[in-house]
């Protein structure tokens, strides 16, 4: 239909030409990248923080000296001429950040407790871990000595198993990494959730604008209300897709440019910066796993489904939002009350999705991924986990059918609502409009 195209064109161009579109489209990726850059800059320049720690070692664990090889970046100063009780009060004045008190230990082979770290404010988790690691390793060493086991023997006894997850999907074997599956699912789900909300409410505001500025009656004397509604929904959907496409291009492009100027600026090396050499090796293997996991993602399926569920979910919710926009009058509070029932299933979908990414096959997750009001968000959260193809097909089919149904239903509410001025519309009336023949 020619008129629908005209409406789509207007809705699209009016929004794309706006300054705010330019700002959010260009601004958001720059802010995201800028955020990254600041984080990395801090990571590179800062280095580990060094704390000065006063130690009273009554158990004589360290023999007055902490092995440099085990240095965790903190400066330990052993103090022997002070009682713990007096030092406890004045360690800060003497220029120490913390005070570590190790009481006498009778038997190293028993469980050691009562080691205390005094501080003015809660100690950072990382700092506490470092100190614990240092103490644990010395106690371990003492225990090995008393059991007469050499370090080599101990290493050969200690077990450090990690399980490889092989995904067999008929064609090829791939290594799967649970963390990657979770991240990808979560990101897809949350994106769909956000896009449906952002662009759905944009449709609602557009309809309200038409109604409140009294354009609706002028418009419907030349265009059918349904064409006007559908044109607006599709036009705004196209704005959404455009914005999304520009974001992807910008983020990828900016990352590429930045990685030329700042060699360390590469997502794959990000977690390594600013860490000790020992931790590095561990992180590299983690990154490898991540990379392997990344390759195990069925990207074709994910991208296709993402676009399908975004379009389907958006169309479905946009029709509902359009209907809501057409019935509210000037009152903003009324708009909020009306929107609530439409928002609920979206939020519900989000909640189910957060569960489904870790437990993808519970009845609730399966239901959520098929029920059309929640399926776009929930199915994206499950897709990584080999969802039976029948479920995917049913879910997609139901989504399409429901979009058609809700568009038809909303069209009926919209055509009446948009011409009602200054009157509060009740749910009962809206239901009556939908059953009435035109």
């Amino acid at each position: 239909m020619n008129k629908i195209l005209l409406v789509i064109q207007r809705e699209y161009l009016v929004r794309v030409k706006k300054k705010s579109f330019l700002f959010t489209t260009i601004g958001v990726p720059i802010i995201i990248i800028g955020f990254y850059a600041v984080m990395i800059a801090v990571g590179v320049s800062g280095g580990p923080e060094t704390n000065k720690i006063a130690v009273i070692d009554e158990a004589n664990l360290f023999n007055g000296n902490i092995d440099k090889a085990k240095d965790d970046g903190s400066e330990y100063v052993f103090i022997s001429n002070q009682s713990p009780d007096s030092l406890k009060v004045k360690y800060k004045k003497l220029g120490y950040d913390y005070f570590l008190y190790i009481p006498p230990i009778e038997d190293f082979t028993k469980n050691v407790s009562n080691i205390q770290l005094f501080s003015k404010s809660p100690v950072a988790m990382k700092q506490k871990r470092k100190i614990e690691k240092t103490i644990n390793s010395i106690i371990e060493q003492k225990r090995l000595q008393s059991a007469n086991i050499s370090r080599e023997q101990y290493r050969s006894i200690k077990s450090d198993v990690s399980i490889d997850n092989k995904i067999v999907d008929g064609k090829e074997e791939k290594k799967g990494v649970a963390a990657v599956a979770t991240i990808v699912s979560f990101v897809c789900g949350i994106l769909i959730y956000m896009l449906m909300l952002i662009y759905g409410t944009m449709v609602m505001r557009g309809v309200m604008e038409e109604k409140l500025n009294r354009i609706a009656e002028v418009m419907v004397s030349s265009v059918k209300p349904f064409q006007l509604m559908l044109g607006k929904i599709i036009g705004i959907g196209a704005v959404g897709l455009t914005q999304f496409a520009i974001w992807i291009v910008l983020i990828v492009g900016l990352q590429f440019i930045l990685s030329i100027f700042i060699p360390s600026f590469d997502l794959s090396t990000l977690p390594q910066t600013g860490q000790g050499a020992g931790a590095m090796a561990e992180n590299v293997s983690k990154m490898d796993a991540f990379r392997i996991g990344f390759h195990s993602v069925p990207w074709g399926l994910i991208i296709f489904s993402f676009i399908f569920y975004f379009i389907g979910g958006y169309l479905l919710y946009a029709s509902l939002f359009a209907a809501i926009g057409s019935v509210v009058s000037e009152d903003q509070n009324e708009a909020q009350a009306m929107v609530f029932p439409v928002m609920m299933p979206i939020v519900l979908g989000f909640v189910i999705m957060t569960k489904a990414i870790t437990e993808p096959n519970t009845p609730l997750a399966i239901f959520g991924s098929i029920f059309p009001l929640t399926s776009p968000v929930v199915m994206m959260g499950r897709l990584m986990y080999n969802v039976p193809i029948s479920q995917v097909i049913i879910s997609m089919l139901l989504l399409v059918l429901n979009f058609i149904f809700f568009a038809w239903l909303s069209g009926k509410i919209y055509r009446t609502g948009i011409l009602m001025y200054g009157k509060k519309v009740t749910w009962k009336e809206m239901i009556r409009w939908t059953v009435r023949k035109s």
């Binding site: 009016v14 706006k18 500025n213 009294r214 354009i215 009656e217 002028v218 419907v220 004397s221 030349s222």
Partner: protein
């Protein structure tokens, strides 16, 4: 052949009969006044004629054929009472958009918009936004967007609200010109003096029903009360005659008379001639449409009450 024929049109809502069996017809080139108090059903009637609402019963004949909103909409221009334009959209773009929606090609739309913008001296508005315009300017723009597609039927609901006399005349002149070129115009308003001036034919609607139908003059004749004004050189002290009674007496030696049944204007002249009073002027006073309107609508509640519909 009539441009528009409305036959027994009905539209019932759950709480009231908005339009209850209204018929009228409209010739090409005529200016038709649709009058009625608030809530009489005028807007519902106009919405059915513009294809926004479907009638429950009755039919609409447009140019000799049954009215089909899909195709006939291109020949209708509707300026509703609730007027509005996209506030943030550029005025030139907006006018072209609205013309295109009426079925004009982009080139034809551009040409028509330019033509009207020159005519109304609106060229400088092209790149402005509607929100930059005053209310009167918006009204003018709204009128222009209504007639861009050179419609055969133009429906104007309160077209002069918010316009100053200069712009009112500008638009009034355009309405005459459009009618001369063969467009039929339906003019809906409460402003009776404008109706008297502009319209050839009127109908009065109240509570969804047509209560009056005729030419402006015909209606006035129908409701005349044999009132005459006579200008005299001096006013006699005592006037007593069975032929008429004096209604009022103003300082300019003018008398307002009501002639009693069975007597004629000649009897009035005869009486004053007999009294040897010089007569300066003598003319009939026809009731204004306002008076007729008030008379007919009076007694009915000011705003429509809800009624139960059994149909």
């Amino acid at each position: 052949m009539n441009r528009l024929e409305v036959k027994h049109l009905k539209k019932y809502y759950t709480s009231q009969k908005a339009v209850d069996d209204i018929s009228f017809s409209l010739a090409p080139g005529s200016i038709f006044g649709l009058l009625g108090p608030n809530g009489a059903g005028k807007t519902t009637l106009l919405r059915m004629i513009t294809g926004i609402l479907f009638p429950d019963e009755g039919e609409i004949i447009f140019d000799g054929k049954k009215f089909d909103p899909d195709t006939d909409i291109a020949y209708i221009g509707y300026m509703p009472e609730e007027k509005g334009l996209y506030k943030k959209m550029q005025i030139g773009d907006q006018a072209i958009y609205l013309a295109q929606l009426k079925g004009l090609s982009k080139a034809a739309a551009l040409e028509s918009v330019k033509h009207w913008f020159v005519k109304f001296e609106m060229q400088s508005w092209w790149n402005k936004k509607v929100e930059d315009l005053s209310k009167g300017m918006q009204q003018k723009l709204q009128f222009v967007t209504t007639v861009l597609n050179d419609p055969k039927l133009i429906i104007l609901d309160e077209p002069f609200s918010g316009l100053d006399p200069v712009n009112t005349n500008l638009i009034k002149d355009e309405i005459y010109k459009l009618a001369q070129n063969g467009s039929s115009i339906i003019f809906s308003t409460h402003r009776m003096e404008q109706v008297e001036e502009i319209c050839d034919h009127i109908i009065l609607v109240n509570k969804g029903q047509k209560i009056l139908d005729g030419t402006v003059n015909g209606v006035k004749q129908q409701f005349k009360e044999n009132m005459f004004a006579i200008g005299l050189e001096s006013i006699p002290e005592n006037i007593s005659t069975p032929a008429f009674e004096v209604i009022s007496n103003n300082r300019d030696h003018q008398l307002l008379l009501k002639i009693h049944e069975g007597y004629k204007p000649n009897d009035v002249l005869h009486y004053f001639l007999q009294q040897q009073v010089g007569i300066n002027s003598f003319h009939e006073i026809l009731p204004s449409l306002s008076e007729i309107f008030i008379k007919l609508v009076e007694g009915t509640p000011l705003t429509r009450q809800f009624q139960t519909v059994t149909a």
